[in-house]
Structures are given as C-alpha cells and as structure tokens.
Amino acid sequence: MDTTLSETQRLLRESLRDYLGNEVPFDRIRELEREGGADQALWEYLAGAGFLALPFAEAHGGEGGELTDTAVVLEELTRRACVIPFLETTASALAIERHGEEALADEVVRGVISGAITIAPALQSATPANGASPRVVDGALSGERRFVDYGAEVTHHLVEATEDGEPALYLVDAAGEGVATESLSTIARTPLAHCSYDGAPARRAGGAEALQFLGGAGRALCAVQCLGNAQQALDMTVEYVGMRVQFGRPIGSFQAVQHHCANMATQTLSARFLTYRAVWCVDQGIATDREIAKAKALASRAGTEVTMQAHILFGGIGYTEEYDLHFFSRHGKERALAWGSTEECLRVAAETLDEVQPWQ
C-alpha cells in the first residue's frame, strides 16, 4: 500500500508540466475551441516523447508501465485543459490489447504508440433513446451512437455492436465508407459527435471481456479527469486568494475564505484516493463495477463542486472569458457527466447494495 507518487510518476508529471507550461498556452485551447478539432501538435509530441506507449506491453512496443502512470499523465493533461483523445485512445487500445483479438492488438497498439492511430469508443451507454443500436452483419456495421468523444477527430471508432445478438467491440475506420459524424456542442467546448454507421466495414476487436474492461477503464480514467479539474481549480484558487488584497489584506487571510479552501482541498484529496485505487484495480484486473462507480460518483462531485466554489472565491475576474478558470469549471462539469454521472453511478452502487461485505 502506498498512495504517494512513485519516482517515475513524479518525473512524468514534472516533464509534462514543463512542456505544457511552455508549449500549450491557454490561448491555444481558445483557438481549438473556436476552430474545433483536437491538438495535433501536442499529440505528435506525446507520441515522440513516449507518453503514448506507457501502459502497453513491451511485446507490442510499449513501456510495460502501470496504468496509474498513464493516469498521472492524464491528470496533468487535464490540468492544462488539453484537447486530445488521450483517454479514449488509451482505454480503447488497452481493451484490445488485454482482452481483444491478438491479431489486431499488435497492429493497433503499435499504431497508437506511433501516433498514427487514434480511437474513440462508441458504447451502448452512448446511444440516443430513439436511436438504432448498431448491428453487424457480414462484417458491415449499421446503427448510431451519440455522445462519442472525439468521434469526428479520431482515425478509428471502437463500436459496441451486436452480431447474432451477441454484444462485442468492432473497429471501424472513421474515414472509411459508411461513417458519418455530426459535431455536438457542449458546455466543455471539446469535441463530441453523433455518429451514424451505414454498412461500415467493421473488424471484430473483442468480446464481453474487452467490453467490460473498456467500460471500467474509461469510467475510472474519466474520474481522473474530474479530479484533475478539481485539483487545478483548487490550486489556482489558493494562489489567487493568497495575493488578492481587499480591506487591506489578502482575502486568503480571512477565516471564511480559508475554510472554503480547506473544504475544497479535503474534497479533492478524498476523491483522489478512490479514483487512483479504481485505476489501479482496473490495471490489476480486480476492479468491480460497483467500486469504479463509487469512485466516479465521488470524483464527479469534486470536479463539479470544487470548480464552482473556485468561481465564488475568485469573484468577477474568474467569471471572464479572458481568465482561465472557466476551462476547469466547464470541463469539470462535462467530465462529471461523461462515462456515468454522479446520479448514474450512485444508481449502479444502489442496485448492487447486496454486494456490500461486512468489515471483517
């Protein structure tokens, strides 16, 4: 048991923080919001510097690291509001590598590590209520998925679809025939798409185990994003109230302000343990839906409440477009809803209340 960062994780965090601080100014994020799309230059850097290779097996050209290493990287990317399909691609390729078709795994993972392949999961949970769940007949996939993060930016979709009634994952070339995407605008202003498939050529990528893994890994890693938004808003707030002077002294010296900050810090640290434990358990293959759901519920709340409390303490300046705080409150709320909102996750935990074991 050790909740502290390993030496590797510390180094990863510091080198990425340095790079992002220098090379990805917030105005770059504003530009991407205006023009749409993902940050291709950043993706190329991450590939070149080896960040994309971290969690994959050495046999596939990866680093053979822990998934928590990748989570540390993801948290850092989140803290810079980066617009890249890092979670989506990593979780998808890992699902294929660990539980999918071996023939495909080598090709996909090597492609991901090189930066050439990016993947967006398109799962059952992302189906419009009146939409048609995708089906596969003779290697052709038809149906629709909504709420596909980076659906219009990635090279491939990993679609949950049924073939002869069996749910499985299928890899679809996003630029190929039979795939249409329509961008959806969200509070985060990050890419989201409604995807329609009409006889798109699909390769089977994995069965029930791969599906299960992808759902769990995606949710646990999304909890990391929630946490990253909370942590960034907290740190920005502490810095700001420590120097903003009113009534002749820093507002951070007022006890009411200090106690808000103390509560924000407590909520963030509380979510941190459960979130990283969930990621670690996913990596070890011992995660339960229930534990992941609980972690995501907690992280979703932190990502929402801490970022919103930050606005209350910042006052007017934090409310402006030109200041950077809104990235984290908007992303924090959107990530709180993605991969299962607080309410959806609590429902999972409530439905499985019988699984609670006495402490013994």
Binding site: M1, T3, T68, Q258, A265, L274, W280, L353, P358
Partner: protein, 389 residues
C-alpha cells in the same frame, strides 16, 4: 502507487488474525463488557497485552532510538486494523501519546523511572491541559508552577480532565514564566495523582461518560517531575497533540455501525430496502466510509514514507468526527421512531441502542482534540500556505 498489500504484510495480517482467534475469548469479552471506565487492565486484557509484548508487536514500528525495531509503519497499521475489526482494544490510552514525549524530552533517569510502567500499563495517565479560560486557546493556561527550593509548587485548576479519577498520573501543562509571551512560558510535568493537594470533582457528560475538574492547591513535586527544559512545554505539547489527532482520527468503529445497521435493516426492516431512496442514502454513507478509509490510508502512506502529515491528518480528523454524527443521524432517521430507543429499552433498541449512544457522544469528536474549525485553519495555513491575518 500501490493499492494492495505485499506478501510480508499479508502474512503478518494472518499472524495477527490467528493471534486474535486465540486471545479474543468469551472471558475477555465479559471482562471488557464489565470494565466500565477503569484505567487498569483486567486479567484477560493483561494476558493479551503480555502476549503482544512477547511477540514484540507493541513498539515494533517505533524508531530504534525510541526503543523500537524501526519496522515499516504498515505493520502497526495492519495490527490496529485487525484489532479494530474484532473490536478488541489494545494500547494504553494516553500512554501512547505521553510515552514518546518522555522518551524524546526526558532524562535517562526519567525514562527508566516512567517508561517501563507506561508500557506495562502500571502507570496510566490523564491529560492536564484544558482550564476554565484555556480551551481551544490552550496556550492561555494559567495553572502556575513556581520553583520552591529544589521542588515545584503547583496551584491552579484543570478542566475536562477525563480519566483523572482512575489514572495514576497526570501529564500536566503549567505556566512557569507569567512574563514571557504565552507560548514561551509553559512547562510540562508528570505528577502522581495521589500527591497531597490534588482533588478531583466529577462532571457527568451527555454521552453518559464522566470527565472531571482537577484542583491543585500547593501541590509540591520534586524537580524531576519536570519533563524537558523549563518553558519548553508548548513545543512538547504540540508534538504530543499530533499523536492525539491521529489517534482520534481512527474511525474503525463507524464501519461496524454501518455493518450492524445493514444487518438490522436486512433482518428486521427489509421493507426499507425496497425503497430506492433508502438504498441511495445507504450508498452515500458507504461512500463517506470509503472516503474515511482513503484519508486514513493516505495519512498512513505519508507516515510510512517517512514524512509527517499535516493537513492530511486534520482532514482525517474532520471527516471522521463529522461522519460519526452524520452516520448516526442518518441511520436513526432511516429507522424512524425506533431510532430513538436506548439500550434500556431491552430487546427493542436497534443495534442495542448504539445509534442514539453514538449520536449523543458525537459532539466531542468534533470540538475535542483540536476543534474542527482549528483543523480547517491548519489545512488552510500549514497545508495550503494561506496567510495569517
């Protein structure tokens, strides 16, 4: 990061479980149930305590210079956890807090005089800190110790001195320099409670427990009752309070309350589980307990890595103490009027009256051991680095 237990600790956990299997006997249970507020251990508890000593488990994680073996703090954690799971107490109350202070700040002669007794629980302690005008502002304490020849003469009054009626000694903070700034004129003493001039008056609390006022009238103690340097007391106290904070932060009992609440609902009130709102509230309590576990393990990780938690210890203290209120409050609410029943309502009270008892006893966890408002100050100032005004 690593969220599992290594083989060595797993093996140790099994050893502790086997140990408890052997020593957690019906006789021990009877003794614990009937011991009331006695400070001295009964024969069964003494047997368990001596067996722990034989195995070298009591101070295995202490640094070697404090008489320990310097093992990883996780061994202590695992042992504490297994004892807590079975609700078997161990340790000697405030001795675990005062012992290290004497070891660190006392003379060789004082160590020899007090430590073996503290470890064997022959010396039991109460804390002489709070006074009528020195509560949260502890450094305002006024009980005066004046040098009189080779002796010290002590006059004053302490308040909220729990266990003063049963302890053999008081760990006492006195003012030794009234003219110095308030933090720099305090010294710490260890004084036998049967010293002439000490009198104890009981104060009963709403939890059903007893605390005390203690009066000191011309109490004469020899010079070696002083631990550490004259006027070094505040530093020594602050050091010991850090231990108390971690101690109060341990909240294993709350998990048992949750488990017993679930068992009660399943057996006696299964209709409640048909209600989605009830299930959701139970999940929220479980989540609160998960957070508690996370904060405790985060603190333990910091300690095990050789650092000292500051804001993390305060977070754990706040969370656990507020949860003690919250879990009993919500549980009573879910059960309705039966939640109000006490253990005297023989056979009717849910959880044998534990819910209302916990609810009644919960305030002290929040204002005691450093009020939660002060803990939030510590998080903001020492942890986050926000300025004082």
């Amino acid at each position: 990061m690593e969220f599992g237990w290594n083989e060595e600790l797993e093996a140790f956990r099994e050893e502790v479980r086997a140990f408890l299997q052997e020593f957690d006997t019906p006789a021990l249970r009877t003794e614990l149930a009937n011991r009331g507020e006695a400070a001295q251990l009964g024969p069964e508890q003494t047997r368990l305590r001596e067996a722990l000593e034989d195995r070298g488990w009591v101070r295995m994680c202490w640094p070697e210079e404090l008489g320990g073996e310097g093992k990883s703090q996780w061994f202590q954690f695992v042992m504490t956890e297994e004892f807590a799971k079975r609700e078997v107490p161990y340790g000697s109350g405030f001795g675990t807090m005062v012992g290290p202070a004497i070891h660190r700040f006392g003379t060789e002669a004082q160590r020899e005089k007090y430590l073996p007794g503290i470890w064997a629980n022959d010396i039991t302690l109460c804390l002489g800190y709070s006074e009528p005008n020195a509560g949260t502002d502890l450094a305002a304490l006024e009980t005066l110790a004046v040098k009189d020849g080779d002796d010290w003469l002590i006059n004053g009054q302490k308040l909220w001195t729990s266990a003063a009626d049963t302890a053999s000694h008081v760990w006492l903070a006195c003012r030794t320099d009234p003219d110095a700034p308030k933090h720099r004129g305090i010294s710490t003493f260890i004084v036998p409670m049967d010293t002439p001039g000490i009198s104890v008056r009981p104060i009963m609390t709403m939890s059903g427990g007893r605390t005390n006022e203690v009066f000191f009238e011309d109490v004469r103690v020899p010079s070696d009752a002083l631990i550490g340097e004259v006027n070094q007391g505040w530093y020594i106290i602050a050091n010991a309070l850090d231990h108390e904070r971690v101690w109060i932060g341990a909240g294993g009992g709350l998990r048992h309350i949750f488990d017993r609440l679930m068992a009660h609902i399943r057996e006696k009130r299964p209709e409640l589980l048909e209600d989605d709102v009830v299930r959701r509230r139970l999940v929220e309590l479980e989540l609160d307990l998960d957070v508690m576990e996370g904060l405790v393990l985060t603190n333990a990780s910091i300690v095990a890595s050789g650092d000292t938690p500051t804001m993390e210890a305060s977070m754990s203290k706040i969370w656990t103490s507020e949860l003690r209120y919250h879990i009993s409050n919500v549980a009573m609410d879910l059960l309705g009027h039966e939640g109000a029943l006490t253990e005297e309502a023989d056979g009717f009270a849910p959880l044998g009256g534990e819910l209302e008892r916990t609810y009644r006893a919960s305030p002290i966890q929040r204002f005691g051991g450093g009020a939660n408002e002060v803990q939030r100050d510590i998080i903001a100032r020492r942890g986050l680095g926000l300025p004082r005004h």
